[in-house]
């Protein structure tokens, strides 16, 4: 999971469920069904969110949650390998799936008349998946290519992977979602099969349907297609945590690149109780004050005025099953070092801790949140996403209005207090990219290498 920039994080946090039509019902087998009616366009989205992600994996088998996500398209008795995508395509649909630390989700976007089809296919693979070895053997190669492309050959992604493996010592966020390459190499179809049998069950899932639908009809149809799938006894989930970090940690990553890069990550809390917690809201606002628009503190000071960085960004996501990070990242300007950038960033953090934020900055962030609330309604898909993310993070769509209210109530004092507490070197991990030259730098390609 990449760092979310603030606008995204804020949009993610807030929502208008208070006025929107959201309905919920739990089937007798434990499947939680949530319907968000939105009649602006004759379309719908079905998303099935399994409450299992890479953080539920064991050492030596990292990446299996994501591999299974790929295998979910490899066929059932009724719908052989490759047919799922073909059938959805023939109905004019779009479909995909994604895996994160906290969840695994599958979705289809279709005309409103096609809900039955979507439910028939999705419910079928909830319990009838066939795990053919020959399909697994091909797909695991695909996943290794995905890892090479997304992580191994991308210096910033690689650095972020190593940063997380340093910041999290005990919590499974230590491991990348896509898995370590050696684990992928050692993985078998039996591992994927076991994962599927253990976790894929109606009582471990939330079904979200959003769009031009009627809740009663959706519930009836869900009962018909998903209701007959038996519940499974899920393994006990042990509480996992992260003991306090006892001092600053620094890592260096070498990779082919031109520019160095700096990431500073502070341990930070995430939302547990939407009504009682206050720090995650203060942190969202803090992120907005630092990086909510291009004249916010960091860009204004580091990029525009001091010109010590060519880019700067902040990432914080308050919605997660596990402990969070408040992340600052920056690329030094030419002639500047990561040390210069780190000093400049620390200076800004110190200013904030010392003097706090002003009323205007605070109002600005809140105005963006309020407007984002309206803009969000332009996307049915996004509204469903938000519900699924909350539900799989141990929260609920019902928290949405609470979160919005709490966010609007954040005070300048709270922002300063949370900054003072969090920007502590003992809880900090710093990663720097040490750029390596390409062995044969193609400065002037196209000339000599051009062969007809």
């Amino acid at each position: 999971m990449r760092i979310h920039l603030l606008v995204v994080a804020l949009l993610l946090l807030v929502s208008s469920a208070a006025r929107a039509e959201v309905f919920e019902r739990t089937l007798s087998n434990g499947l939680n069904v949530i319907v968000k009616e939105d009649h602006r366009a004759p379309v719908l989205v079905q998303q099935v969110w399994y409450h299992v992600g890479s953080m539920d994996e064991n050492t030596g088998a990292t990446g299996v949650a994501h591999v299974l996500e790929h295998m979910m398209f490899k066929g059932t008795v009724e719908v052989p390998a490759g047919q799922f995508s073909k059938i959805i395509a023939a109905a004019g649909g779009r479909e995909n799936a994604f895996t994160s630390y906290d969840h695994t989700a599958y979705f289809q976007q279709l005309h409103k008349s096609e809900l039955k089809l979507a439910m028939r296919l999705e419910s079928d693979r909830m319990h009838n998946l066939q795990m053919a070895k020959r399909e697994f053997d091909k797909e695991i190669k695909v996943v290794m290519e995905e890892r090479r492309w997304r992580t191994d050959d991308d210096p910033h992604a690689l650095m972020y992977e190593k940063l997380l493996a340093t910041a999290y010592k005990e919590h499974p966020y230590h491991h990348p979602v896509i898995g370590w390459m050696v684990d992928l190499q050692n993985m078998t179809d039996a591992d994927a099969q076991k994962w599927y049998r253990t976790w894929y069950a109606p009582n471990d899932a939330t079904l979200v349907i959003a769009g031009d639908v009627k809740a009663d009809e959706v519930f009836a149809m869900a009962e018909r297609y998903y209701g007959r799938i038996p519940a499974v006894k899920l393994p006990e989930r042990k509480a996992v945590g992260e003991a306090p970090q006892l001092g600053i940690q620094r890592i260096v990553v070498k990779a082919p690149a031109e520019l160095p890069y700096l990431i500073m990550a502070y341990h930070a809390p995430t939302l547990r109780d939407s009504e009682k917690d206050w720090k995650p809201y203060a942190l969202e606002v803090l992120a907005g004050v630092l990086d909510g628009n291009s004249s916010a503190r960091l860009n204004k000071a580091l990029v525009r005025e001091q010109q010590v960085a060519m880019d700067v960004g902040v990432g914080y996501d308050s919605v997660a099953r596990g402990p969070g990070l408040f992340v600052l990242e920056a690329t030094p300007s030419e002639g500047k070092t990561v040390g210069d950038v780190e000093r400049a960033l620390r200076e800004q953090l110190a200013l904030l801790v010392r003097d706090g934020v002003n009323a205007q900055e605070l109002e600005r962030v809140k105005a963006q949140v309020t407007a984002g609330e309206v803009y969000k309604r332009d996307s049915v898909f996004y509204q469903a996403m938000q519900i699924g993310q909350l539900e799989t993070a141990g929260l609920s769509y019902k928290d949405i209005p609470v979160m919005l209210r709490k966010l609007q109530a954040v005070t300048a004092q709270q922002v300063q207090d949370v900054a003072r507490e969090m920007f502590n070197d003992d809880h900090l991990t710093v990663a720097t990219l040490d750029p390596q030259p390409l062995s044969d730098k193609p400065r002037h390609v196209g000339g000599a290498a051009h062969v007809h």
Binding site: F98, M144, V177, M310, S333, R364, G446, V451, H452
Partner: protein, 439 residues
Amino acid sequence: MFTRFLSFAILLCAANAALATPQIQHWEAPSGARVYFVEDHSLPMLDVAVDFPAGSGYDVAGKVGVANLTYGMLDLGAQGLSEDEVASKLADIGAQMSGQFDDDRAGLRLRTLSNPAERDVALDILGRCLQWPLFPEPVLAREKARLIAALKEEETQPESIANKAFDKAVFGVHPYGWHVEVADVEKIQRAELDSFYRAHYGANTAVVALMGDVTRAQAEAIAQRLTASLPAGGADPRVPAVMIRIKPSEQRIPHPASQSHILTGAPGVARNDEDYFPLYVGNYILGGGGFVSRLMNEVREKRGLAYSVYSYFIPMQQPGLFEIGLQTKKDQADESLRLVRKVLREFVDKGVTEKELRAAKQNIIGGFPLRIDSNRKILDYLSVIGFYELPLTYLDDFTRNVDKVTPRQIHDAFKRRIDPDALATVIVGAPEDKAGAAK
């Protein structure tokens, strides 16, 4: 987030008949700007886009990068507003400004609440950025330095290296093939931005798209207010002609990455071309249709050679790219490239089956409602319809145009357009033992 496959959000104008399409209102503002408007009061918000024929295709030799920097500087200081004020005043009312820049188009986008208090401030800021940009000298110096650093970084990353070499191989000396170099940026002067702006940001070539919660009368006033004080313009709005036929080429560029990045293709099709629909529907079958395309099936599903493999046409004012791309670990690069070439050759030689075409139409036509299910998507269509002067009935006609396509038309269009023996190919991170070898 790890997704099952990569989908490309290439803007392909598409649409359906069974569904009520948005009612597009069109007029010319007193300023001369062409205006496209869809009135919709379901959400209290307004989206606006103002575009000009001022993309990188309008750069001239020796001054590459001027178009890009001109566009990039529009919101970094305007009459009465410093760059910080532009950003902070928009943020104060929760408005969002972004942009559009490609080989043809340059322009700004605004999303704001439609409540007059917010809307008026947001439109005032947009209007100033469009009509009175200042291109402040110190900001330009900083932006040049940032661009130079970004270019140097791009020169080390395989995907960027591949794209750059590929564009050059496909378009040769045409501006579509130019990529700005460090040396180009260094010599750019403020006066060049100013004169580019005055020549290319005229009202008579401006396209204003409005979508959302305003009335026709308000939309008329807004369009005029955003364009009345634009410069005289006068530059030729046509991009130079692209040479359709290219000589085959293959470049193998070393890189320490674990994968090879492979691109192969040629100039494709223009936005207004008669072959557009046969090529678009045909390409869905070849490599555009996500999991159900031939390329995906052969390269990934059958052999596990790549995570992502695709083909697309980018329809531009002049024929834009036809591109096939994939990434695979180095020792599979040659095998993958051979396979891709085989799939393409067979496709061009034999065309598509009735069954494939039926499936493609089912998806494109059946999926039409998804293409216009949000204000943002409709705004994008308005911009494209306006900019390329497509018929106002484009959305209404779209599904019919797709439905009319025959296997023969696809075969014929591909045969005339895509010569498998005359493609440009670039492999970055080529297998090392064969680096530099001829094909």
